[in-house]
């Protein structure tokens, strides 16, 4: 929809143009905000623990349930008197690492499956894509729990498990792209010149499908951080005493009446990180896809 007529025709074209520019600006600003949030969070989690005087694991029972902004524990302390800010920063390292690593793995798997399925098509392609469909029939949390419950939970296995439940969207996006690119003249030219299948797939076709992959994998970081939070909250993810934003919430419910900040703060960090990646992904989609009009 290049020029979309508004429902209220009384609006002047001039005002509409101005408003559309405003829309672009706001959209852009959201992406910038997202990027800013990610950078701040990454820096905070990477450097913060070195500068902050409290250790995330140090128990100080005399300061248990310290209220935020009331003492040197600026964001308060948990049931064992461990400093919440220190825990949030270390937890951020865990959650962001899982998010990025799971994104990388799921992007590689999804791209491989999608490229092969899209390029070869036929029986191989439809078998691979039916497999993708079948995995998508499982509600993601169910599949995630079924996988996570049966592995020894640690940073590495949880990352793998999350990647195993998050690659399907990428595969679908890539498959559709490759299937249409395969029919273009430059692909035919490469084939006529005697290029191998691998060369055509990864050297000719894939570079032309980079934009949607970048968008999908940015959104996948957001998704992976959320999935880590879910599985850790439910008790099958990152195990205490190592904090993650998800597992910091799993006994917060008990203290909801007396220490609500224990539940509120980790959630706010999750939301900040996830909205950050979602805004950036959305901005990238607008920026990289010239056919898409901003709606």
């Amino acid at each position: 929809m290049a020029v979309a007529a508004d429902i209220t025709p009384r609006e002047s074209p001039k005002r509409r143009a101005r408003n559309r520019a405003l829309a672009r600006f706001v959209r852009h600003r959201l992406a910038l905000f997202g990027l800013g949030a990610i950078i701040v969070l990454v820096l905070l989690c990477a450097v913060g623990p070195y500068l902050w005087p409290y250790n995330d694991l140090r128990i100080d029972i005399s300061h248990r349930f310290a209220v935020p902004f009331m003492s040197a524990h600026i964001l308060g302390a948990d049931a064992l008197g461990r400093d919440l800010f220190a825990r949030l920063m270390i937890a951020g390292r865990v959650s962001l690492t899982v998010g990025f690593a799971a994104m990388a793995i799921s992007t590689v798997i999804g791209t491989l499956v999608g490229t092969v399925a899209g390029y070869f098509g036929g029986a191989v392609g439809s078998m691979l894509m039916r497999f993708v469909d079948a995995v998508l029939c499982f509600p993601s949390i169910f599949l995630l729990l079924a996988l996570a419950a049966f592995v020894q939970p640690n940073l590495f296995t949880i990352t793998l498990v999350i990647a195993a439940t998050a690659w399907m969207e990428v595969a679908r996006v890539v498959e559709a792209q490759i299937r249409s690119l395969r029919e273009r003249d430059f692909a035919l030219a490469a084939r006529v010149l005697g290029a191998s299948d691998a060369h055509i797939m990864f050297r000719e076709l894939l570079p032309n499908a980079i934009a949607p992959i970048v968008v999908a994998s940015t959104l996948n970081v957001a998704r992976a951080i959320l999935l880590e939070a879910y599985v850790s909250f439910l008790g099958y993810g990152i195990q205490p005493p190592t904090p993650s934003w998800g597992n910091m919430l799993n006994n917060a419910q008990e203290y909801l009446a007396t220490a609500p900040w224990l539940a509120l703060l980790p959630g706010l960090f999750i939301i900040l990180a996830v909205t950050g990646f979602n805004f950036v992904g959305d901005g990238l989609r607008d920026a990289l896809d010239p056919r898409l009009d901003i709606t």
Partner: protein, 316 residues
């Protein structure tokens, strides 16, 4: 139409079979296995464990085990729970009610609110409301359901003490009002994501419809804007939403699991989580299969409904 139905059914059955293979493989190739529970019993010897494995049929090759399970599943025998030896289908059935209640009530909330937000966003495109709705929807999609649940409990149960913090009903009070009051918080929590998705898609669908010729015709005949909106635009914009609703089922089921955990709601999601804790393979497998059936059935019904509602769609 019949051909379409048959083909879709065949595709769905093939997918279900794949789902069963994947589910079975995931559960049985994983370390630990169904015997893990028994190894925890003090004084259990290796010989006894071997005997149990034999009695449970776990010492046979995996394909044989799969075939046995598959054959019985087809005739409705989904095995017995390792926990209490109840038939799996009975166990699932007894937990299905609360989950369906939750899903239905949250869907109603989501459709009403999402339609309002989506329609208003499309009518007042680029207005302040539209921006807030757009940004709000993206933030809503970034909020972990369990965290939103905790916030709702904190505000409405702890601080205001208006609503109960969980459970299906108050013990000793089985009145309808009591049930309904308990349903409010979890339904709102589960509805959040659906509201966001529904309003976004409906807004896009509305904007698509207003460009159609029949809207221009209606306007050219001098039909009042309000009538155009309600009789033509919204009605037509809602049609493709049937498909969206069908596609939302997996998300809704995932959300239900988390919501049920936060609100100690005795539904299928909690059953799944408990069964995983108990290494209750037959129930875990049963719920995986059951939810896949629900998802595929939902998509199929959505397609059929869409075709029934929109005479332009020909199924073949």
């Amino acid at each position: 139409m019949i051909r379409f139905l048959l083909r879709r059914l065949a595709q769905s059955l093939l997918l279900l079979w794949l789902v069963s293979v994947i589910g079975f493989a995931v559960l049985h190739l994983a370390p630990g296995g169904p015997l893990a529970e028994f190894t925890l019993i003090p004084g259990m010897t290796t010989a006894q464990l071997k005997l149990i494995a034999h009695q449970m049929g776990l010492d046979r090759p995996l394909p044989v085990q799969y075939w046995e399970w598959f054959r019985r599943m087809l005739v409705g025998n989904w095995g017995r729970s390792y926990r209490d030896s109840q038939p799996v289908l009975d166990v699932i059935a007894s937990h299905l009610g609360p989950t369906l209640e939750l899903m239905v009530s949250s869907t109603i909330i989501a459709i009403l609110l999402g339609t309002w937000v989506g329609v208003l966003g499309a009518i007042r495109r680029y207005s302040v409301f539209d921006y807030l709705a757009t940004v709000g929807a993206m933030i809503a999609l970034s909020i972990p359901t369990f965290w939103f649940g905790l916030v709702v409990i904190y505000i409405f149960s702890v601080e205001l003490a208006w609503l109960p913090a969980g459970n299906l009903y108050t013990i000793g009070n089985g009145s309808f009002v009591d049930y309904a009051v308990h349903l409010i918080s979890p339904s709102i929590v589960l509805a959040l994501v659906t509201i966001a998705i529904w309003s976004r898609y409906l807004r896009a669908s509305m904007l698509e419809v207003v460009n159609q010729d029949y809207i221009r015709t209606a306007r050219a005949k001098g039909m009042p804007e309000r009538t155009i909106l309600f009789r033509h635009t919204i009605r037509n914009a809602l049609l493709p939403m049937i498909t969206i609703a069908g596609l939302q089922l997996p998300t809704l089921l995932s959300g239900a699991l988390v919501t049920e955990t936060v609100f100690t709601w005795p539904g299928m999601g909690r059953l799944f989580l408990d069964s995983i804790g108990y290494r209750d393979y037959p129930v875990v497998m049963g719920i995986l299969m059951f939810s896949a059936v629900l998802v595929l059935l939902g998509n199929l019904i959505a397609d059929l409904l869409y075709a029934a509602a929109d005479p332009r769609i020909r199924l073949d």
